[in-house]
């Protein structure tokens, strides 16, 4: 159900304050310690952040895509690691279940995901399976009432914290492509699951990523998302979650860009060279102006695509346009922010150095920029022929 303007504004105002007063002061500490304080995670749970996109019937907030984008843009003003804590529960970790799960599966998992009691994690990528996501090698072999999973999943966000994995595994070895893949709901505590050490990442410290290894891990046949009739249809489930997820990442990129611009303007008006604030120099102004114009363009794109999705339009091409433009945009904005800061921008004391690394991921995960380009182009060609 769409919220009225006053309610949404009040929520956004509250979140904006939570970001400024609670999250921003801890950015440096979280980055240094690679750990988000547990009490902060409790506060996020209390605010309802884990269940933003989970339907109200299952205890979530049931935000529309546009509302979600407006909220995420606010959260983008602080380190993306904070958003990552509840990111999977609102995106790839829950949406497959929301869209294709059986009633029993939804009522079993979603209420606990909405409160944050269960953290969901999405396990598709493998050592040899990245952009070619249909080439899943992890196998699921039927054995009595169970399937037996074997394989390794790589770079799995929130895996160290997860209680529930959405695992994509090949149920039909005779079908090499996406068609032989099924999606399983796998409780993280099952025997046969081990986690690799946390990957050491370029940025976003505080958000954790690792390998998940399945060795003869038995799951019941009822664990296939949507039940046994969805056998071999898991890839379609994965694809369905993408449009909304890509808009979410785009809104996040806009939020980060806004923060980088704020930091740049603040620095440029304080810092003096040649006897005046560097903000008075036109070459600095040009960088600020380009960043603002591009961030605003991305914001308009994201909100437009989100509204169209909420109105029932198919937005796969538009969502890819948003993800491509917004994430490349924030890369440029971060680069300019470091440039405006000069030597200071290369130092850890300033937030822009950290953001520069953090935002680099946006151009890669949930579909690289190059994958977005091919989605857009293929969409155009398909529409024409």
């Amino acid at each position: 159900m769409a919220l009225d303007r006053e309610t949404l504004n009040q929520f956004i105002t509250t979140l904006d304050r939570f970001v400024s007063d609670r999250l921003m002061p801890l950015e440096e500490q979280v980055s240094r310690e690679d750990r988000i304080p547990p009490e902060l995670i409790s506060e996020m749970k209390d605010l309802g952040l884990f269940g933003m996109t989970i339907p109200e019937a299952y205890g979530g907030l049931g935000l529309t895509t546009e509302e979600e984008c407006r909220v995420v843009r606010v959260l983008g003003r602080t380190s993306p690691a904070f958003r990552s804590v509840f990111g999977t529960n609102n995106g790839i970790g829950s949406q497959g279940l929301v869209m294709d799960g059986t009633e029993a599966q939804k009522s079993h998992y979603l209420p606990k995901m909405a409160t944050g009691e269960i953290i969901g994690s999405f396990a598709l990528t493998e050592p040899d399976v990245g952009s070619d996501s249909g080439a899943v090698k992890t196998s699921a072999v039927a054995d009595g009432d169970d399937y037996v999973l074997n394989g390794t999943k790589r770079y799995i966000t929130n895996a160290p914290e997860a209680q529930l994995f959405t695992v994509f595994a090949r149920t039909d070895p005779d079908q090499p492509g996406a068609r032989g893949v099924s999606a399983f709901l796998v409780d993280a505590g099952l025997p046969g699951i081990t986690l690799g050490p946390n990957n050491r990442k370029m940025g976003q410290q505080g958000a954790h990523v690792c390998d998940v290894i399945f060795e003869d891990c038995r799951v019941p046949k009822s664990a296939i998302i949507g039940g046994p009739e969805n056998l071999n249809r898991g890839f379609a489930t994965a694809m369905k979650t993408l449009d909304r997820g890509r808009l979410h990442i785009s809104a996040l990129a806009v939020g980060c860009a806004n923060r980088l611009i704020e930091e740049s303007v603040a620095f440029a008006t304080e810092r003096t060279q040649f006897g005046q604030p560097i903000a008075d120099f036109q070459l600095i102004q040009a960088m600020l102006a380009d960043s603002k114009a591009e961030a605003y363009a991305a914001e308009c794109m994201v909100l437009d695509a989100a509204r169209r999705r909420d109105a029932g339009e198919a937005v796969t091409t538009l969502a890819s346009c948003c993800k491509l433009f917004a994430t490349e945009m924030v890369g440029r904005v971060a680069d300019r922010a470091v440039q405006i800061h000069g030597g200071a921008g290369y130092m850890e004391e300033y937030a822009v150095a950290r953001f520069y690394r953090d935002v680099r991921l946006f151009r890669i995960y949930e579909g690289t920029s190059q994958i977005q380009q091919t989605v857009i182009a293929k969409g155009l060609i398909r529409d024409l022929t």
């Binding site: 006053e6 009040q10 509250t14 304050r17 309802g48 907030l61």
Partner: protein, 250 residues
């Protein structure tokens, strides 16, 4: 026990305020407004009393224009049970507000009234005290801790150089200092629930009070711009200037 919490709509504490060019006041156009931070602490304390089972009902009240409903909704989202707006477009001042609240208190009969110690716009720190004087209720101002037991409330007050604890017989008035508590953030579910909580509007006329200001603001000036500092050549010169010009050491 019913708790009444008067709150005020003020310019948000993050806003850099601008004085109007004619020095008649602060420019409020397109400025973000919020619940006065000390009043938010008062609401939080009342809600905690309710959660602890000490209070049974928390009523938020404000005196102001219809736009103040926004701040009352915030109080409802933070946990108040209902709200009352005493609606006026007049420039209400502490004495008028205290009189209006006294009239409301006669209807509500709250056992505890928690004010913020002052608003961050006027900085008067008068309304709670005036209300206590008008109603004859005992007051514990600048509270950093409160404890309720056996029909009394013990209030630890932040005073110059230390703490003072006073014991008041209920019904009583408390005004909150900064360290009493740290207010929570309203969750979206609670913001949505707040829409359904009752918010009554009454006029000063209905309460039989006159809010005509008795104090006239003559001018409002922004703080003086800081002068640029100077560089001294030696420690001796620094000590000399601190002694004889700044007169901060002797």
């Amino acid at each position: 026990m019913k708790v009444l919490v008067p709150v005020k709509r003020v310019v948000d504490y993050n806003v850099k305020i601008r004085v109007k060019p004619d020095n008649s006041g602060v420019d409020l156009s397109n400025v973000k407004m919020s619940v006065n931070p000390f009043c938010e602490i008062a609401i939080e304390e009342a809600v905690r009393l309710k959660e602890a089972g000490t209070a049974t009902e928390v009523v938020a009240v404000t005196v102001g224009s219809s736009a103040s409903q926004e701040q009352l909704r915030t109080c409802l989202a933070l946990g108040a049970d209902r709200a009352v707006l005493i609606e006026t477009d007049a420039d209400a001042q502490p004495l008028g507000i205290a009189k209006a609240l006294k009239a409301l208190q006669e209807k509500e009969g709250a056992e505890l009234v928690i004010f913020g110690k002052q608003s961050i716009d006027g900085d008067n720190s008068q309304t709670g005290q005036m209300f206590a004087a008008l109603t004859g209720m005992p007051q514990g101002t600048f509270a950093s801790e409160v404890k309720i037991a056996d029909g009394r409330i013990d209030v630890t007050r932040e005073i110059d150089g230390g703490l003072q604890t006073v014991s008041l017989k209920l019904p009583a008035v408390v005004t909150t200092d900064l360290r009493l508590n740290e207010p929570r953030y309203a969750s979206l579910p609670n913001i949505m629930k707040a829409k359904k909580k009752p918010l009554d509007v009454v006029t000063p006329d209905e309460l039989g009070v006159d809010l005509t200001p008795s104090v006239e603001v003559l001018s409002v000036e922004p703080p003086a711009e800081r002068q640029a500092g100077i560089k001294v050549e030696s420690v001796e010169e620094l000590v000399d200037k601190l002694k004889n010009e700044a007169k901060v050491i002797s």
